[in-house]
């Protein structure tokens, strides 16, 4: 559906329209974190957040540079990825975000980047081994690899959901493609995108000169449990 035909938010309650306005600001602002942490170049990468008041989510429009991103330019889609409100087409990755929201109700935010080190592991189809306490805290183990999937249907979304459903990790490295991350909201998913690149880089560098020592599973469990429950997230 082209942006000109978008039905708009007229049929939704004031509460929904107010949440859309707030989430547009949040999502626009969080996009600035992607170049700040050097996760994207040019217009690559996108952030979305699901509404709590309706089955909708807010996502980046397609092909807009990071300098031009404003709350108003963010677009609103249904959980089937159909454009509801906005003056531009949604990101070409919208179908993958929508699939995640439809199949993982606990997820409130999704991020996709091509961050360099995470994508480098993805191009080899290799999981990042858990050799850092920071990984045990944040990912609860290895960062897993998802299948090779072409854009255009639900393949990418299915690959993300299948891989993350069997993992503590909020990040999946889609083969030959790049990382997708999830969280309770968009901010948590952005944090996971920052952290997955950081651990992908650190473990890569460590392995360049030898084999880093894996943390025993019992201690990974202990660290993960403490970080998620005692320390709070």
């Amino acid at each position: 559906m082209s942006a000109a035909q978008a039905p708009g938010l007229a049929g939704y309650s004031d509460e929904v329209r107010e949440e859309v306005a707030r989430v547009r600001e949040v999502v626009a602002r969080l996009h600035a974190e992607l170049p700040r942490w050097e996760l994207v170049v040019w217009t690559a990468g996108n952030v979305s957040q699901r509404l709590t008041t309706a089955d909708l989510f807010v996502i980046k429009p397609s092909g807009v540079t990071y300098d031009e991103l404003t709350p108003e330019s963010m677009v609103v889609c249904t959980l089937d990825g159909e454009l509801v409100d906005g003056t531009r087409s949604p990101s070409s990755d919208t179908a993958a975000h929508a699939y995640v929201y439809r199949h993982m109700p606990q997820v409130g935010g999704v991020v996709h980047t091509h961050s360099t080190y995470a994508t480098a592991w993805a191009a080899r189809g290799e999981a990042v081994p858990c050799v850092l306490t920071m990984m045990a805290d944040e990912f609860g183990g290895d960062v897993p690899v998802g299948p090779f999937a072409l854009i255009g249907d639900d393949s990418i979304g299915q690959g993300i959901v299948e891989t993350l459903s069997g993992s503590r990790s909020p990040a999946v490295l889609m083969r030959n493609h790049g990382p997708f991350t999830i969280g309770a909201d968009a901010k948590a998913a952005v944090k996971a995108a920052v952290m997955v690149e950081e651990v992908a880089r650190t473990v890569h560098i460590s392995r360049q000169l030898g084999e880093p020592t894996r943390i025993p599973q019992e201690q990974i469990d202990s660290l993960y449990d403490r970080y998620q429950n005692v320390y709070g997230r």
Copy 2:
């Protein structure tokens, strides 16, 4: 021809002079993208754009730092690389840009950098293999290598044109030298310069710890076709 002897734009129509003024602004502004994406150090690297109203193009002057680049300092040359308007000498790479414009009429913008990872592949004379969906989208396959060529005659321009004429890629890695990129306009060529460094870096890093998986040609074709035609560029 020295800058003092430049004939100027007096013999051209108002329409041409107006396009020159617009393109000088575009080209000056796009130069700022080169240090922003860390593609250049000091004064290395140059961007040009061809006019649509005359057989002229606008390019960076020689030896000026990125802090000093203004629309006024940009110079105008014929498609033979002769200076037409400007108070400084054109970039020492002007002959290569001019050769491309003479022999590839569909090209409206050319960029040259010595960006680190692309130049590292160029120093080994090795093409960047297509192992990322982002490469299939943007380059339609491997990023090819062009011949070793000395500056001073048309050798560099010939090497660019011969290599890119047989390729979907908008980027060529000139041996022992660095990348040249082309596009419908200068912005598209700058995007290609940003993307070639990004994929050169990501594939380099991936290969440091093993062999990344090549994407099958059929799927490269599918991704390229979709990105160039369906998604729009």
Copy 3:
């Protein structure tokens, strides 16, 4: 103890309260050095400084981003790591800082980061060999590795103190975790955190293409002595 129950500084002298105010500013400002030198992402990393007028230290609160750090948000703890003053919980690394202050009276500042290259050496459990005059100056030899230790008790603090007590180095690489650094005050500890990442990176890169030449011990001693005594620090 939760922040709401913090006893506050009412029982301390004016002199102590004045030092707390000054040190809160110093510690807040020094946190900005961590992202500046690319030692941390997101909210990772923390700086503390011990008071000279009381057995207290000032440290970063938990889970606050670097953009939000103000002198007021810094928290004050006893040398047992108990919160004395502040509206937020102290960093989850507070127990390690406190242990260092209790057992190394000459230490006035402690810094912890997960800086990439230092953490990469830590993940392999490998000391950084002294192959740079800059390392001889600042570290007086290799940068040592500390034990693997879980957060939650004094294990990390003990590992830091045992390793640094037998070394000239102000930095220890805690296995699978990251660097901790010490100094006469927080600024000196931040400098050591910057320098340990720099030498970890430079020696890593040097070793990627061969074996760097170790500096003979006698010359390390001579450089260290001069830098610490003649040149001043």
Copy 4:
């Protein structure tokens, strides 16, 4: 000699005092290029420029951070490295700069950094091979390695002068230490410091995945001659 005992510029002509004022500004401003191009961390690295009106040079004071560098804080020394004017002690590398000025009269600027990739080659004691046209242009061949030398006498200065006297290169990699660069003035020496790090990085990265192709000597000569003479510098 301590700063308090510096004799000052009272015995020099107005012309000299005016040049000192100008060169203090130039040298202070050029120091900002070192962190800008990521050649230094903390207070490492220094730039100097020789006067044309007297046997004096202007250099960075010791231990001052880059944020605090002002024209007034720069110090003036004789070609024997004795402090003439300034409120702080000269850089601890002053003796090496002074030795270069005494023995290479054509040199008007000297720069020293510990930039990462150049220092990594220096730690292995390995010259950077000429595999890039940019290296042929700027360095006229390989970037040479100088001897291991301790600070405190003329050893470093001698090593620089001996190595560069037999080379076209304006940069020498002092073993286990880092690069020193020279130029007709401080700006040219800073440019050489930027370029030596750039080529050290690019050739390092190229060699990580194979052997870059050396440029034949005849073509190096042709490129160097053109760049230095025809194109101008």
